[in-house]
Amino acid sequence: MAYPYRDDRETTTVLSRHMGEPEARTLSGWLERGGYEALGTALEMEPDEITEIVKESGLRGRGGAGFPTGMKWGFMPKENGRAHYLCCNADESEPGAFKDREIMRWTPHLMIEGCLIAARAIRAGHVYIYVRGEFFPVVRVLNQAVVEAYEAGYIGRSVLGSGWSCDITVHLGAGAYIAGEETGLMSSLMGGRAEPWMKPPFPAARGIFGAPTTVNNVETLASVPGIVANGSAWYRQWGSDESPGTKLWCCSGHLVKPGNYELELGVPLSEIIYDVCGGAPDGKRVRAVIPGGSSTPFLTADELDCETTYEGMQAAGSSLGTASPIVMDESTCLLSAMRRIAQFYAHESCGQCVQCREGTEWIAKILRRIEDGDGEMKDIDTLYDLCEQLTGRTICVLADSVVFPLRSSLDKFRDEYESHIQQDACTAT
């Protein structure tokens, strides 16, 4: 399909400005668009100055948790001489999310530039880009860009003659959602099963190969060159004090115009769904929305007037997550939708924690049974009970991730569950 999938607001295309322009993928095309100027600026700065600008900009991690990026970089040891690593998390596999893919396949050099600047800030000499295995078409584009940048001296020994060296290696995953969790990613990168580990040790103290490591999402890193080139005040012209900047949205489900849109943080969710994406097709009404990717709590159609900042989405009882609203119209069986989501988490549990391994399976099984018309009213209590058991007791938050949509769907759409159990009928129209 043709590009651009974006809103016409000129002011909010920082990350996506050159999406849809095939020439932007090449080094020469990228340089014509002002590419690698920020890297030049960063090479003249001390590492801590770069971190300071990013701190001031208020940039927050776009991998889902929204952790302040400059603060994360500040945790890295300051002394030189020891190996440090940066991992670029390109494992994008949260159901609903498809933004890192667009950055990598349209503007790979933007991400590479961000990786280099971040590496300089945290004193890393090697960046591993961990790309999810399925992204073969994307990795072809990325690989070509990395090689081109190497050959032109932007990556490798003495970057642009500065005396500062940095390598980049592209690494392919092989189909495991949990490899997107930062410690799972590091386990996988070191040649193991993608099993998360209990923190501490935190990556900045002990990450890959025993060395201080920072893990950042693709979109986070792609936001960095603009900040370094234009300053933190420039970045703060968008968004709120706590959530500055722009964000790539991934809109999917029942929408007239699904796709990626870059918007200033804070635009009301209802505006994104109805004005930008055209609402549900065929004149249907929206029934429910999971706003931040499949691991965030459901909102009802009446709850969409919230401000899409980290704090605004939290106040609305959900979270910004990866800014990936999955929209369900009035004809949607929410039980079936929830069952499909639960099935995913059951499939992707790495199995280290009993609560998660068994609990996610159980949830999927119970939901399947209710969907098949064999549910009992006590199943609802069992599901609530499982929500309790899966919250805050496991090594990583994959277990919590299924609780968010499950508990909220039980709270907000209980009639759907009861109708399936008591009448073997759906409340969807």
Binding site: M1, S93, E134, S252, G259, S294
Partner: protein, 184 residues
Amino acid sequence: MSRRIHPSVAGAQPFQLAERDPEAPLFESAEGQERLQAVLSRYPTKQAALLPLLGYANELHGWVSKQDMESIAERLDLTPAYVWSVASFYTMYNKHPIGRHFIQVCTNISCHLNGAQRVLKRFLEETGTRPGETSEDGRYTVIEAECLGACGFATAVQINDEYHENVTPERVSQILAGLDGNGS
């Protein structure tokens, strides 16, 4: 001759291709040696080369056999049991041979909402297979996949190393016909 692969991307080559040579030696060839050395040069430990090399075996052979795991284990000073424990964790390394066209239909939430089950059903009907089974002529294997990261373009289908997006049941026969010159 294929162009030399830059070491920075040697461990990240697409590894599910229609063209494969199940009989090709893994490391007892100039290409195999070059790939092994290029991958090893990028990591401070040998073990970290494990995923890239499992990917290489899958790329070359279409699947990863027990012999492949043994020769990788040997090159990386790991035990075959360890290599198996890692390989079995990841769904994309095929543990047995599969059809020339490996068709993965996403049925996760966004695709589910847009009729993915009907798309899956149509692929199974048109190839005359059941999920995970290879058609008798060896051409097709169809499976249900988790989110492919293309949710706005539902239904997303991956066939070997290519994506097909906005797939509807009506488009299935056309897609199959386009896979190789003599499609059904």
